[in-house]
C-alpha cells in the first residue's frame, strides 16, 4: 500500500470528480421524485396509488421486501467473509456494508409510505401514552419493526466500527469544518494497540451478532406473508426461501455496485477480477439455492392441487401474471445458469449484466409473491386486479434514486475501499510489520 494507492482511494472523498458530482445531482433529482410523489400522496390520500380491494398491498410492499432483501448483501456477506477469513473480502466489505445501511434506509421508508395514516407511525413503537395502550406484539408487523430496527442499528454500527481508522486518517488530512466533523466521527482514534484491540473485538462481536439478526430480518419479512391465510402465502419454507432470495439479490446488487465503482472510480486495481470470480461463484450458488426453493414451492402447491392455491398458481404460471413469471425465471435462473458457470462469465462486465437482470427478476419475484395471492382470494367472487399508478411508479423509481444519492454521499465522505484493511492485507501478504499486529489476527 503506497501513497499512490492512498491518493487514489481518497480522491473521491477529498477532491470528488465531475462524474461524482453529476451522479449526486442526478440521483438527488430522482430522489426528489420520491419526495414529490409521497408528498402528493399524503396530501391526496392513499387513493392516488393503484392498490385497491382485494389487492391491498402493491408495489410499495414489493419495494419494501425488495430493498430489505437487497440489504442482505452487505452485512451478511461481509460478516461471513470476515468470520471465515476470506482474504478476497478486503476490498468488498466496506461498500457491501454501505449497501446494507442505505438499502435498509430506503426499504424502511416503504412501510411508512404505504400506511394509510403515516403520521401515526409512532403508534407501532412501544412508547408510553396517556391511553395506556401498547402495540400488539402478536403482529408480524411489530416483529418487522423490531427486527428491522435492530438490523439497521446493528449494520450501521457494523459499517461504522471498521470505518473508524479511515475516518481518523481523513481527520488527519482534512482542514476546516471537515476536520471538525471527522474529528467528531473518529471518536478520538489514535491507533494505539489498546484501541486496535478494542476495535478488533468490537468488529468480531458485531460480525457474530449481525448474522442471526440478518437471517431473522428476512425471515420475519417473509412471515408477514406466511403467518397469514392467503393462498400461496401460508408456507413453511417462506423463511429460508426469503433469506435465500435476499442473499441472492444482495449479491446481485453487490456485483453491480462493485462493477460500477470499479469503472466509475477507477478502482480496478483493488476490486480485481479475482474478487469478481469469487463473488460470481457465490452468486451462482445462490442462484441454484433460489431456484431450488422456487421449484419446491411451486411443485408442492401444484401437487397439492388445493383449489384456492391453484387459482393463484395458474394466475402466475399461465394467467395474467405469466409474462412476469417467465421473465423472472429467465432472469433469475436461465441467464445466470448460462453465464456464471464460466470463468469468462464471472468477469465484471458479464457478471454485472447478469446482476442487473437478477435485480429486476427478484423485484418481479416479490411482486409475484404478493399480488397474485391477493388478487385471488378464497372467496372467488372477489377476484381483483391491480395496475400500479403513476405515483407508485414514481416512488419506486425515486427509491432507486434515493439509494444512489445516499451512496454517492457516502462515497464523498468515506473511502469506498477500507484503507487500513487493504493495508493490513498487503502487510499480511508481504509479511512486513507495517500494520498493527492485532488487526491481522482478529479481523481476517
Amino acid at each position: 500500500m503506497n501513497p499512490e494507492d492512498e491518493r487514489l482511494l481518497l480522491a473521491p472523498v477529498e477532491r470528488g470528480s465531475r462524474g461524482l458530482r453529476l451522479g449526486l445531482v442526478a440521483s438527488a433529482l430522482a430522489a426528489g421524485v420520491l419526495c414529490a410523489c409521497w408528498g402528493y400522496q399524503i396530501a391526496h390520500d392513499l387513493g392516488v396509488a393503484g392498490i385497491n380491494r382485494p389487492v391491498f398491498w402493491g408495489v410499495y410492499i414489493t419495494n419494501f421486501v425488495f430493498w430489505i432483501g437487497i440489504s442482505h448483501a452487505g452485512t451478511l456477506i461481509s460478516a461471513i467473509l470476515r468470520l471465515t477469513g476470506a482474504e478476497w473480502r478486503r476490498p468488498v466489505t466496506r461498500c457491501a456494508e454501505a449497501i446494507t445501511v442505505f438499502a435498509l434506509a430506503v426499504g424502511g421508508l416503504f412501510p411508512l409510505i404505504h400506511l394509510g395514516r403515516p403520521w401515526l407511525f409512532y403508534w407501532l413503537l412501544p412508547l408510553p401514552n396517556a391511553r395506556g395502550l401498547w402495540p400488539n406484539f402478536r403482529s408480524p408487523l411489530l416483529w418487522d419493526v423490531t427486527a428491522i430496527g435492530t438490523y439497521f442499528l446493528g449494520s450501521s454500527l457494523y459499517l461504522f466500527l471498521p470505518a473508524i481508522p479511515d475516518l481518523a486518517a481523513l481527520r488527519d488530512r482534512a482542514t476546516g469544518w471537515r476536520r471538525r466533523v471527522y474529528t467528531w466521527c473518529a471518536l478520538g482514534w489514535r491507533g494505539t494497540p489498546r484501541q486496535w484491540h478494542a476495535l478488533e473485538n468490537g468488529i468480531r462481536v458485531m460480525a457474530v451478532l449481525i448474522l442471526p439478526v440478518a437471517v431473522s430480518v428476512h425471515t420475519i419479512v417473509s412471515w408477514d406473508f406466511a403467518m397469514s391465510l392467503q393462498p400461496m402465502w401460508h408456507s413453511t419454507i417462506f423463511g429460508p426461501y426469503f433469506v435465500a432470495g435476499a442473499i441472492y439479490s444482495g449479491i446481485a446488487i453487490l456485483v453491480a455496485v462493485m462493477a460500477a465503482l470499479r469503472r466509475g472510480l477507477g478502482l480496478g486495481r483493488y476490486i480485481s477480477e479475482t474478487v469478481f470470480d469469487n463473488l460470481g461463484l457465490l452468486f451462482l450458488t445462490m442462484a441454484l439455492v433460489w431456484a431450488y426453493f422456487t421449484f419446491a414451492e411451486h411443485l408442492t402447491v401444484w401437487y397439492g392441487n388445493e383449489p384456492a392455491e391453484m387459482a393463484v398458481f395458474w394466475e402466475r404460471v399461465s394467467g395474467r401474471y405469466a409474462p412476469a413469471f417467465w421473465t423472472m425465471v429467465v432472469l433469475n435462473f436461465a441467464v445466470p445458469m448460462l453465464v456464471l458457470p464460466f470463468r469468462r462469465g464471472r468477469r465484471p462486465g458479464p457478471a454485472s449484466l447478469v446482476a442487473v437482470g437478477v435485480l429486476l427478476g427478484m423485484w418481479l419475484e416479490r411482486f409475484l409473491i404478493i399480488i397474485p395471492s391477493l388478487a385471488n382470494p378464497r372467496l372467488a367472487y372477489t377476484v381483483g386486479r391491480y395496475v400500479p399508478s403513476g405515483v407508485e411508479w414514481g416512488i419506486t423509481f425515486g427509491a432507486f434514486g434515493l439509494f444512489v444519492f445516499l451512496y454517492h454521499l457516502f462515497l464523498r465522505c468515506v473511502p469506498a475501499v477500507s484503507l487500513w484493511e487493504m493495508r493490513a492485507g498487503a502487510a499480511a501478504e508481504s509479511d512486513t510489520s507495517l500494520a498493527p499486529e492485532p488487526a491481522r489476527e482478529g479481523v481476517r
Binding site: L46, F56, G116, R117, P118, P140, L141, R378
Partner: protein, 234 residues
C-alpha cells in the same frame, strides 16, 4: 355472557340486495364514484356473492350474502400492530377507527375479503350529510372499516333495556340488514342463549359456516337451501 351471532337462511334469500342499501344508509358508508369503483374501491360491508354452476341452458345460481363473519378466531385480529381490531367480550370483531394507522394487514389476512379501506375521505355534497346516522362515526381517509354487526344498535338497545331495568330480549337487537330483509332471511341474536332463534337455527342440520375448515370459527351461520323437515329446526 352474550355472544352475538347471525343466521342467514339461503332458502329465503332472493338476492334482492335490500340489505346492502340498508347497510349503507345505517352506517354512513362513503360514496364511491364510478371511476373509483372501477378501480376496485367500492365499499359494501355486505355483499351478495353469486356463483354460477353449469353452462347455458343448464345453469344454477347460488347466492351467499357475505359480511364480516365476526370470527371467534379471527385472522385479522392478531396481525394488527396497534390493536385497532380486536375481539370484544361479546364476540364482536371490533374495528376502532381512531386507532387504525392503515397497514391494511387485517384486510389481507381476512379470508372472507370483507374489510374495506378508506382510500379517500368521504364526500357528502350538501345537503346529503343530513342523512348521516349520528350514531356512527364518519371515517377519515386512511383507515379500515367493515361490518360492525351494527354495534350502535346493540348499544342503543342495551341502554334502552338498562333504562327500563331489564335484560335484552331475543330479537330486540336487529342490524340494519336483518331489519330490512324482505324475506326475513337474516336472524340476529345471542348464541349463548340456547333458546334464542339464532342459537336454535345454528343447531339446524342445514347450518354451515363459510370456510369453516380454516378454523376461524365464524359467528355467521348459513342455512343451506332445501327442505327443512329433516334438519331438526324449530
Amino acid at each position: 355472557m352474550t355472544r352475538w351471532a347471525m343466521a342467514i337462511d339461503l332458502d329465503r334469500c332472493t338476492g334482492c340486495e335490500a340489505c346492502v342499501v340498508a347497510c349503507h344508509a345505517e352506517n354512513n358508508i362513503r360514496l364511491v364514484g364510478p371511476e373509483e369503483a372501477a378501480r376496485g374501491r367500492a365499499i359494501h360491508w355486505l355483499r351478495i356473492e353469486r356463483y354460477y354452476e353449469g353452462e347455458y341452458p343448464d345453469v344454477r345460481v347460488r347466492f351467499v350474502p357475505v359480511l364480516c363473519q365476526h370470527c371467534g378466531a379471527a385472522p385479522c385480529e392478531p396481525v394488527c400492530p396497534v390493536y385497532a381490531t380486536y375481539h370484544t367480550d361479546e364476540g364482536l370483531n371490533a374495528m376502532v377507527y381512531n386507532r387504525c394507522v392503515g397497514t391494511r394487514y387485517c384486510a389481507n389476512n381476512c379470508p372472507y375479503s370483507v374489510r374495506f379501506f378508506n382510500w379517500h375521505a368521504a364526500p357528502w355534497p350538501d345537503p346529503l350529510q343530513r342523512q348521516l346516522n349520528p350514531d356512527v362515526a364518519a371515517r377519515p381517509a386512511g383507515v379500515m372499516e367493515k361490518c360492525t354487526f351494527c354495534v350502535q344498535r346493540i348499544q342503543r338497545a342495551r341502554q334502552q333495556a338498562a333504562d327500563e331495568g331489564r335484560e335484552l330480549r331475543d330479537g330486540e337487537v336487529q342490524p340494519a340488514c336483518a331489519e330490512s330483509c324482505p324475506t326475513r332471511a337474516i336472524v340476529f341474536g345471542d348464541l349463548d342463549d340456547p333458546d334464542s332463534r339464532v342459537a336454535r337455527l345454528s343447531r339446524s342440520g342445514r347450518a354451515r359456516r363459510l370456510l369453516e375448515e380454516l378454523g376461524t370459527h365464524p359467528a355467521v351461520f348459513y342455512l343451506a337451501r332445501g327442505a327443512r323437515e329433516s334438519s331438526g329446526e324449530p
